[in-house]
Amino acid sequence: MRDHLVPIVMGLVAVGLFFAFPYDLAFLTRVLVTIVLVLSVDLVLGYAGIPTLGQAAMFGTGAYAAGLFAIHVWGDPLAGLVVGAVAGAAIALVSGLVLMRTRGLTVIMLTIAVAAILHEIANRARDLTGGADGLRGIRMQPVLGLWEFDFIGRTGYWYALVVVIVVYVGLSILTRSSFGLGLRGIHDSPERMRAIGAPVYWRLVTAYTIGGGIAGIAGALNAQITQLVSLEGFAFSLSAEALIMLILGGTGRLVGAVIGVALFMTVHHFAAANDPFNWLFVIGAMVLVVVFFLPQGIISLPGILLRHLRGGRDADRA
């Protein structure tokens, strides 16, 4: 039961935020979309241990696929999400077949290179993608034929929240399955997993592909709700920020991804609104404090505090 408590509380908080901040729904929805993206990074990096700085490759692909699908084929949101997921997974599978043969810094560089190439292709294929102007003219049909997307973003918020919950529950099940446990094993020691007969390479490719599909869903969600796809979807800064948010919250735990996104984006929202030039001071200091004092991320804070409250010699060893 305790395992389910935190996600349920987070879901209730998300419902409460809808009523508490009815004028900030655009920002809150962006947080939800980013949570989906960072959850995908958590699967790839936190569970499977694949260092990636290029998750934007799948996010952008999902966004363009869903946007083009809505314009040229069918404006149904759920069908668009499926298209985005398939597109993201396809890119991840194709690049993953190469990427998973390498390790460490090389993987990081290759993920960056894949995203950079897709960014440039989207930039050059102006006729199809609108290039630097972005893909415009996306008109979505009502969700399930019932709920129109409204100007204030109410439908968008609930729609994104449901997607977040579905992805979260799906990942909870996946990471507890034998496949998820296998990924943890690979994360800790690929050699031992290979020695006990696990197909390490194919497990990693599968994890990367699933992660790509989820990142594609995040991109599709963003395209449908903002009704715009821009080159930013492929930007290196998106991948880098997703990584920062995840490590801030804590890797290898789904809760960590949610908390990291909420914290980073809230701080960014207020610090950048007050002083757009100096917000890097705030985020830089925050990042350093977390790395030096909470190396396991923000999610380790309650545990550390509890141990200190209980006192005793254990407190020092925390």
């Binding site: 990096l45 260092p51 190469v98 043969r101 390498t102 390790r103 460490g104 810094l105 090389t106 990081i108 560089m109 290759l110 960056i112 290179a113 894949v114 950079a116 190439i117 440039e120 292709i121 050059r124 290196f236 800064s237 880098a240 990584l243 920062i244 490590i247 801030l248 890797t251 030039f277 100096n278 890097l280 001071f281 985020i283 830089g284 200091a285 925050m286 990042v287 350093l288 977390v290 790395v291 030096f292 190396p295």
Partner: protein, 286 residues
């Protein structure tokens, strides 16, 4: 033929600048095993200091260059003592996060101090003079950059291969504990190496400011480029960084001359190909 020579000359000058900055990164990443994403920040600090000495204090280029390099090292050493010493012991992800956080602080500080405009560094008359190569004229400082690049690789080879310091550094890197047990002050060796990396970054930042202009977001804008040079060259290999920087410099220049529309795509496609064929880089040790 003229086109070919143009590509070689421009590409070599560009590659030498990449080399000067990336070699410091290769040393810290390959030898000291720290993923130092803040490396470009030292190039930025060097460039900003040189700009400040020239524009606000009115010194000549030579003094500004030396003072800026010294200033960068003076800033880098306490950072090593206070922060990096702890960062060495962290896991890779924590290193990435810590050095990105540090980069943000550098950017914000330079932004606060010098603003977000381009920080121009003026080269002296002697270096701005055009030099006639027969088939084209070239600003003298491109030739100076090429010469400096060769000088730096010779210096580094001599330092790491032929001096006592080089022996100590290689010993500390191979096995820090055993090196320390042999009486090598590994803390000092790491400190000196870190300072050397920062100094190289500052030189590259200043000398390369014509091709890679200095401004507050410099460390983030070129971070990927420098990392790619190190990854392709092989971490910790001076010669690898040199070959990778030259090769990628000439390649990118060639792509810009020959296929301006597909320059970025072909650059990254070749990087992917190279890293797939040689995951540890051209000269990387396994």
């Amino acid at each position: 033929m003229g086109l070919f020579l143009n590509i070689v000359i421009d590409g070599t000058a560009y590659g030498m600048i990449l080399f000067m900055i990336a070699v410091g990164l290769s040393v810290t990443m390959g030898l000291m095993r720290v993923v130092n994403l803040a490396h470009g920040a030292f190039a930025l600090v060097g460039g900003a200091l040189a700009h400040w000495f020239q524009q606000d204090l009115g010194t000549g280029f030579g003094i500004a260059l030396v003072a800026a390099i010294a200033g960068t090292v003076i800033l880098a050493l306490p950072l090593e003592l206070v922060l990096y010493r702890r960062i060495y012991r962290m896991g890779e992800l924590q290193q990435v996060l810590a050095t990105i956080g540090l980069t943000f602080l550098f950017i914000a500080t330079i932004n606060l101090w010098q603003g977000s405009a381009l920080l121009v560094i003026e080269f002296p008359q002697a270096l701005r003079m055009p030099v006639d190569l027969g088939f084209r004229t070239l600003p003298a400082h491109r030739l100076a950059v090429i010469g400096l690049g060769f000088a730096i690789i010779l210096f580094l080879w001599w330092l790491l291969d032929r001096t006592r310091f080089g022996v100590r550094l290689r010993a500390s890197v191979d096995n820090r504990d055993i090196a320390a047990a042999h009486g090598i002050n590994t803390d000092m060796v790491y400190l000196a190496t870190f300072g050397l990396g920062a100094a190289l970054a500052a030189i590259g930042g200043i000398m390369g400011s014509e091709l890679l202009p200095i401004e507050a977001y410099y460390p983030l804008r070129y971070m990927v480029l420098f990392l790619i040079v190190v990854a392709v060259g092989g971490m910790g290999s001076i010669l690898g960084s040199f070959l990778a920087a030259l090769g990628l410099g000439i390649l990118e220049t060639a792509a810009r001359y020959l296929l301006p529309d597909a320059a970025t795509i072909s650059f990254f496609a070749i990087v992917i190909l190279l890293l797939t064929l040689r995951p540890n880089g051209l000269m990387g040790r396994v």
